[in-house]
């Protein structure tokens, strides 16, 4: 990204994708789908020496094997980067069995469909307040003015932290998930700032308790009946903020991007609103935002391919979701797809804890947009840009409404 590109050592451009892939190459960022297809046609698992050694499973089956195999693949590092410094735990995403289950069970009750249903009116109000700001302009950058703010404000509301701090959260996440791939100082700086911020929130609540997710975690007990350490609470809060924001921002953005350029799907959702849940799942499949990572801890094989410890794995749920062996017409958006075992929220024990929240936010964001701005298209004079790294979505999304030009 332009704001600090000068300090980031650039990776050499990829000339051999099969033996030297790089998920930060601008061509991958712009359009990864043909790259994945080519790699998948070559092998279910490919390797690069970049990032200190990293595998990429390219098929649904290979991704699934790794996601289910916690014996040979650890979650302690969940981002593939140029360096492998100290591990900073953010349970449960960075936890392996047996610590994983109790850490996740502390969070799960706050994220069931019934629990997130209670937040729905608030999310509708957030969406409408955002739309109010630009609806009369005839155009907007939907990434900057709409999709970006919905998850930030929602998660702030849930955690009980000020929505006005949203810009701060967005900067931290950009430094951790995008710039942090290549710049360790920025990443560590952001993590420490974030930890200090949450330590402050915890200190406030020790004086005057509140009724929000921060307090829920502070009052939670571990499997031995002991209160969680402040470090555990801060780690889980860091996770909820990092994992809950640009992932959902990306999913809403990709859905809107698709609808802006596919009038027929858009029309169909307007006349057939009951199709929305199925359509959202298909958009999640076709434009899955999140790629996770694992660290190989023991030698094994995946889909017949040997993998060796010391390497990372780029666990590409998005590539799995484009595998034609698993999905008919995998490269097409079939808005009423009936059979859709997509892995956008992961597979196995690390299934995204916020998946129900994300679905609700994406659905509400698209529903409210279609109600207020049923007629819209990409601005041919503008340029759509995509985020770099392991969370993919539009970061600039210029849209025209109605008859504007």
């Amino acid at each position: 990204m332009s704001d600090s590109a000068s300090v980031i050592p650039e990776h050499p451009p990829v000339t051999d994708w099969i033996n030297d892939f790089d998920h930060t190459d601008p061509r991958w960022t712009e359009n990864p789908f043909p790259i994945w297809d080519a790699l998948r046609a070559h092998s279910p698992v490919v390797h690069t020496e970049r990032f200190l050694g990293c595998y990429l499973p390219t098929t649904y089956e290979a991704v699934k094997e790794i996601a289910y195999d916690t014996e040979h693949f650890s979650s302690r590092r969940v981002i593939v980067r140029d360096v492998r410094p100290e591990v900073i735990p953010s349970p449960p995403i960075t936890s392996d069995p047996p610590a994983h289950k109790p850490a996740k069970q502390l969070l799960l009750p706050s994220f069931t469909p019934d629990a997130v249903k209670k937040l729905e009116p608030r999310v509708r109000a957030i969406c409408n307040a955002l739309i109010d700001e630009f609806v009369n302009d005839g155009r907007c950058d939907a990434a900057a003015r709409y999709t970006k703010h919905i998850p930030v404000r929602t998660i702030a509301h849930m955690l009980g932290i000020p929505e006005e701090d949203g810009d701060l959260f967005i900067r931290w996440i950009h430094e951790i998930l995008e710039l942090g791939i290549k710049n360790n100082d920025l990443l560590m700086g952001a993590i420490h700032e974030m930890s200090a911020y949450f330590a402050g929130q915890i200190a406030q609540r020790k004086k005057s308790p509140t009724d929000d997710l921060v307090s829920t975690l502070m009052n939670a007990k571990d499997i031995d009946g002991q209160p969680l350490s402040d470090a555990h609470v801060v780690g889980s809060l860091r996770l909820l903020l990092i994992a809950g924001i640009d992932t959902t921002w990306s999913a809403i953005g990709s859905a809107l991007w698709h609808l802006a350029r596919t009038r027929s799907d858009c029309q169909r959702l307007i006349v057939e609103p009951a199709l929305m849940p199925i359509a959202i799942e298909e958009l999640l499949r076709a434009y899955s935002p999140v790629t996770m990572a694992r660290e190989v801890t023991k030698e094994t094989t995946v889909s017949g391919c040997p993998v060796k410890p010391g390497n990372m794995v780029l666990l590409s749920f998005p590539a799995a979701n484009r595998d034609p062996a698993m999905f008919r017409d995998a490269d097409k958006v079939v808005i009423d797809r009936k059979e859709n075992r997509h892995a956008a929220f992961g597979l196995g024990i690390h299934r995204c804890v916020g998946s129900n929240l994300a679905r609700m936010e994406i659905t509400v964001a698209i529903e409210e947009w279609l109600k207020r701005i049923p007629d819209f298209r990409l601005d041919p004079a503008g340029r759509v840009t995509w985020s770099e790294g392991t969370v993919r979505g539009p970061r600039q999304l210029p849209i025209l409404f109605g008859n504007a030009n």
Binding site: T112, P277, N340, L347, R351, R359
Partner: protein, 69 residues
């Protein structure tokens, strides 16, 4: 597909994606952690057969079994 259908969720496989609950709310319930189980004894009431098959076809963990009796 002439006989009666019964569904069963394998609790070892279910990871709480809740796709079944969304597609067939009358056939599944979720526990406090969001993991699914079949409602009652899993018998699929007449008229909901398609929903049972749809839930099965959309479970990412292949945790749902549909049994034709």
């Amino acid at each position: 597909m002439s006989g009666k259908l019964k569904i069963r969720v394998d609790p070892e496989k279910c990871q709480g994606h809740a796709r079944c609950k969304s597609l067939a709310p009358g056939l599944f319930d979720l526990d406090e952690f969001g993991n699914a189980h079949e409602r009652g004894d899993g018998s699929v009431p007449a008229g909901l057969e398609d929903r049972a098959w749809l839930a099965r076809s959309n479970c990412p963990e292949i945790a749902i079994e549909v049994i034709e009796e």
